[in-house]
Amino acid sequence: MTTRMLGWLALLGLGGGLVAGFGYAPREVAQGNVQRIMYLHVPAILTAYLAFALVLIGSVGYLATRQLRWDRLAAAAAELGVLFTGVTIISGSIWGRPTWGVWWTWDARLTSTAVLLLVYVGYLLLRGMVDEPDARARYAAVVGILGAANIPIVHFSVKWWRALHQPSTILGPEPSPIATPIALALLVNWVAFTLLFAYFLARRMAIARLEEHA
């Protein structure tokens, strides 16, 4: 079964990611070992963005074809997007505590990620409250499209809003040039997260199919 294979592959990747993040990559000079949270945080947010892109694709696909498999894609991707956004925010918050001294700061990136989380939690709540599969798919698709179109608007508004009150965050716009081993460890973890995402997505979509026909 290919889904099962994907699962083992993801597990293998995550193992490799841990080895790369803790064994191979060196201790970062400025931040110390706390920086290793990055190997969790960055792949998680990249995966979340992949998920939200798939929500958009599934939404447009459903409205164009009216085939429920597109809706299943959007629904599964949204759920996973929320999951990985949650991982992103929690790991970012834990990283922020020793780095900034606070659990939560209205940093531009944390804030816009939190807004995204709220948008897609709303999406999932909406899905839970419509019983008719066709209406649920249509409404969800509209929210999915609007949510995706909103991502850049949210991004810029939050960035400018922060710039207004506080010119630059401690992290700066981009963390200073990344050393090759760190970049490599990030890459391994990113691949592992993408595999895990693909595995979850396949299983979630299969379950959605069963739910429809049950």
Binding site: V29, A30, Q31, G32, N33, V34, R36, I37, L40, H41, A44, L83, G86, V87, I90, S91, I94, W95, R97, P98, T99, L196, F200, R203, R204, A206, I207, L210, E211, A214
Partner: protein, 48 residues
């Protein structure tokens, strides 16, 4: 730029919470799939 203390506790916490979330989701998927693969009990006839 002074090097920061190691803070392994925070690293562990971050990975721990992430593991709980991801494994929790995986178990939820497994439970749901198991539930759905069971034969439907008691064919209740619905009335419109």
């Amino acid at each position: 730029m002074s090097p920061m203390p190691d803070n392994w506790g925070y690293v562990l916490a971050a990975y721990g919470v992430a593991a709980v979330l991801l494994v929790g989701y995986w178990r939820y998927l497994a439970a749901r799939a198991h539930e759905l693969s069971q034969p439907v009990r008691g064919g209740r006839k619905g009335q419109a």
